[in-house]
Amino acid sequence: MTPYLRLQGVVKRFGSFTALHGIDLAIERGEFVCFLGPSGCGKTTLLRVVAGLEAQSAGRIEQAGRDISTLAPAQRDYGIVFQSYALFPNLNVADNVAYGLVNRRTPKAQARERVAELLRLVGLPGTEAKYPSQLSGGQQQRIALARALATSPGLLLLDEPLSALDAIVRVHLRQEIRSLQRTLGVTTIMVTHDQEEALSVADRIVVMNHGVIEQVGTPEEVYREPATPFVADFVGRVNVLAAQALHDGRLRIGATVCEHAATGLPAAGGALQVYLRPEDVAVAASAGDFGAGASNVVPATLDKLEFLGAYCLARLAAPAVAEQGLTAVISPHFVTEHALAPGRELALRLRPERLRVFGAAAAPA
């Protein structure tokens, strides 16, 4: 089966600057895909190329089996929501939502019906006569969404749709967008720089950096099995530890020989980097708490505690594995039970199955 949207070797150059270096990507029908990356990584440019708002310098784009590479925006099939919403301020909600319908010579009564239906869908029924300036930011965003969906496009493009909203509205609205997308089954691409947003809504995440795709995968894959150091670093927090491959296939992290589950390590002696998430650093009051003979256990000293509500971040000194120290997630209960304070002697264990090992060439080993 061919994918709904297929990008092949898409390159975009602005003068001497290359914004996209040969992007290949396939998106299935009904998928919710997030383009995630830091600002300037090319994610918005890629979205605009898909929309035909920028012409790619090279490459091919297919949508529903049709080559749309050279089609003007108006000849493609998509609805779009921008960060600024771009609602027409002089038109009321009904006219905004019906903007694309009017052009299709949809009979008036039918258009009115469709507008009412869409407004119900986005949770703002009865707002037809209001002007955008009378609505809150979140409400404006929903109207923009309704307008983009009015003509039932095959593809929905969302360009940082939530970044202008405050935190609580943002969290709420992203779940609504997600469930709306599920209901309608419309193939959706959302650009975002917020990793949490991407993790919470996407079927698949496309992590981008410097105009290339670093990894494409489900939120779990991207978070738990980052394909590159960049992905590990950008999505979530991570400890980076210097390591070396040993002859017996094990790793020496710092001064400690460790077990691990990584495959395809290079020959012994090569310098490596081990990436480990803070929640994969287990912390206990003493080494014995991990059970006798547990591997990857080293002593540590609590340096600093950062209370973050649902959990605490502990900054630990553990010279046996990390010269610079490392960070672990611990529960507030653990903190109170053991009356933790800086200077306290603890033990920690690097979970062998969670160690991600990267070589000097930054490729997963």
């Binding site: 290949d24 590479s69 108006a74 779009i80």
Partner: protein
């Protein structure tokens, strides 16, 4: 499989296929470009050619320049033009700076009124102030003795030109400086206060550097306006020759087109310089004020506020005295012997001297300029800003749109003679018609209108067109339903600007009118030449009145639009 797919299909950059609406947009932009080429670029080119040809049309290189440089009259006129313009600049810029400072940095009462009064000179031809000066200080002036106390023999000549120009260009300098001083960041002053900085030091280290570009820009604009102004030296210059009057004498009096072209090019030089420097300055100015700047709100300071109020009242009083004298004299039965009010001058001006026809012509031209100029300027700016114009066409139109700023009216008018008066030109039948006067005026004032439209369009969300395209709505529908309604206040503003300038302009049209298409401002010149200064005053008053009424009408229109758009603008 991926490797096979990565191969880029075809070579060269990908171009998106043009849609029907793209093609229509390009066609329209092409039409704007053609209009500007024919009515701006071609006449200027004709002027350039004329300056390197002999009367028979043969190429003579720089011979015209050389022969003109040998004539002592040139050097006298050049020197006169330079020192008069410099003197006016030295007086006007500081005077306008203090006024702008009072408007932006003091708690002076009646700011709107005081500012409004200083805009009076913009509503009348520049020569109105020259006519007033004749009544104040001329041979039969009421304050003639004052001049002699100051050791000035007579107002005709340099003293009159300098004084009249000061009034005429004051509002131009003021507008630039108010803009420069408004762009102040309160945080800088708060930081300085926190460090215990003295008022003088704050002025020298924050205010002046902040207004530096405004001061440069104002000086250049004033200098250029004065050196290229024609009306004032014509009326009050007497035997004092300047470059602008030389052009007129050479071309109209002696029919020496070649030398006229040479002088016109001399006048083009300061304007081009001003344009270039201003362009650079504008770029830096925008970078001055960050997005997060906090606007400065002046605080009360009784002594300072009183001093500023006093100064501004004096300036405003002088402005009113200028206008008032012309109005008063226009109603006087027989200056200076019988000051009983009568309509004699109006009767004479309107009926005997054909000013009535000229006035109607002026209104027609102003209305045409306002309607077609606004439409053309807005269409051009819209197509440039909001449609995907081909790069070459786009930058071409951008350049042409900015060019009129650097072309004095006299130079443009002269170019029109050379280009359109040529019998082989298929557009020759347009010569001296109302259509051409209107087009010339539109082109003359194109840049300001263009910049106003571009600013308004840039302020609109740049994604409107993208959203519309995704819904397959053609650009003209979005233009009609969204862009035009949003830009209505700007359209009114541009129309007002065109109307008032068309009413008061002299410099370009003075070369282009025929007896049938003589406009009011030209009629004033003719009346003055004929020694009918009373009638000239009456006509200047009428032009001022028409401009003032038009300004009020446009203002009311803007208010009406504002009220009608209240609902969606303010969310109530």
């Amino acid at each position: 499989m991926t490797a096979a797919l990565t191969a880029a299909p075809g070579a060269g950059p990908v171009r998106l296929r043009a849609t029907a609406s793209d093609r229509i947009a390009w066609l329209a932009l092409g039409a704007v470009a053609l209009l500007l080429l024919v009515f701006l670029a071609a006449p200027l080119l004709a002027l350039l050619l004329q300056s390197v040809q002999d009367p028979k049309g043969a190429f003579v290189g720089l011979a015209n320049f050389a022969s003109y440089a040998r004539s002592p009259t040139l050097w006298q006129s050049l020197w006169n033009s330079l020192w008069v313009s410099t003197l006016v600049t030295i007086v006007v810029v500081p005077a306008a700076f203090v006024f702008a400072y009072a408007l932006t940095r003091s708690c002076m009462p009646g700011k709107a009124l005081l500012r409004g009064i200083t805009l009076i000179p913009l509503l009348a031809p520049t020569l109105l102030s020259a006519i007033s000066l004749i009544y104040w200080f001329g041979n039969q002036g009421v304050l003639k003795e004052w001049l002699q106390v100051l050791g000035i023999r007579q107002i005709y000549g340099a003293p009159g030109i300098v004084l009249a120009e000061i009034f005429a260009v004051f509002p131009h300098a003021l507008m630039i400086l108010v803009t420069a001083l408004s762009a102040a960041d309160a945080r800088l002053y708060e930081a300085a206060d926190a460090l215990g900085t003295s008022a003088t030091r704050k002025f020298l280290t924050i205010t002046l550097p902040g207004a530096k570009y405004g001061l440069i820009s104002a000086s250049l604009v004033v200098f250029t306006l004065v050196i290229t102004d024609f009306g004032i030296p014509k009326v009050i210059g007497g035997n004092f020759n300047v470059l602008a009057t030389d052009v007129f004498k050479l071309v109209i009096g002696q029919q020496d087109f070649q030398r006229g072209a040479v002088v016109a090019l001399l006048l083009l030089a300061p304007a081009v310089l001003t344009y270039a420097v201003d362009h650079l300055v504008q770029r830096r100015q925008t970078a001055m004020l960050g997005v997060r700047a906090v606007p400065l709100k002046p605080r009360r300071a009784p002594l300072f506020d009183t001093l500023m109020t006093a100064y501004c009242v004096v300036v405003a009083a002088l402005m009113l005295a200028m206008l008032g004298m012309t109005v008063f004299a226009s109603f006087a039965s027989f200056w200076p012997y019988n000051l009983k009010p009568s309509l004699r001058h109006y009767q004479m001006g309107l009926f005997d001297a054909e000013f009535g026809e000229g006035f109607v012509n002026s209104l027609r031209m102003a209305a045409g300029t306002a309607v077609f100029g606004t439409a053309l300027v807005f269409l051009g700016a819209y197509l440039l800003e909001k449609t995907r114009a081909p790069a070459l066409l786009g930058s071409g139109v951008r350049l042409l749109a900015m060019l009129p700023m650097a072309v004095p009216g006299l130079v443009l008018g002269l170019g029109y003679i050379f280009f359109f008066n040529e019998p082989t030109n298929p557009l020759n039948p347009l010569y001296q018609t109302m259509t051409m006067l209107t087009l010339c005026t539109i082109v003359h004032f194109y840049t300001t209108g263009h910049l106003t439209a571009v600013t308004a369009l840039k302020a609109l969300d740049s994604e409107f067109e993208a959203v519309a395209a995704s819904m397959k709505v053609p650009f003209w529908t979005t233009l009609r339903r969204v862009t035009l309604p949003l830009c209505t206040p700007t359209l009114i503003d541009i129309a007002r600007y065109f109307f008032v300038n068309a009413m008061t302009t002299i410099s370009a049209v003075v070369f282009l009118y025929s007896p049938e298409t003589k406009v009011a401002s030209i009629a004033i010149l003719n009346l003055d030449e004929a020694g009918e200064i009373g009638a000239a005053a009456a006509c200047a008053t009428l032009i001022f009145a028409a401009s003032a009424v038009a300004t009020t009408v446009f203002w009311l229109l803007a208010r009406l639009v504002e009220r009608r758009t209240q609902a969606w603008k303010h969310g109530t």
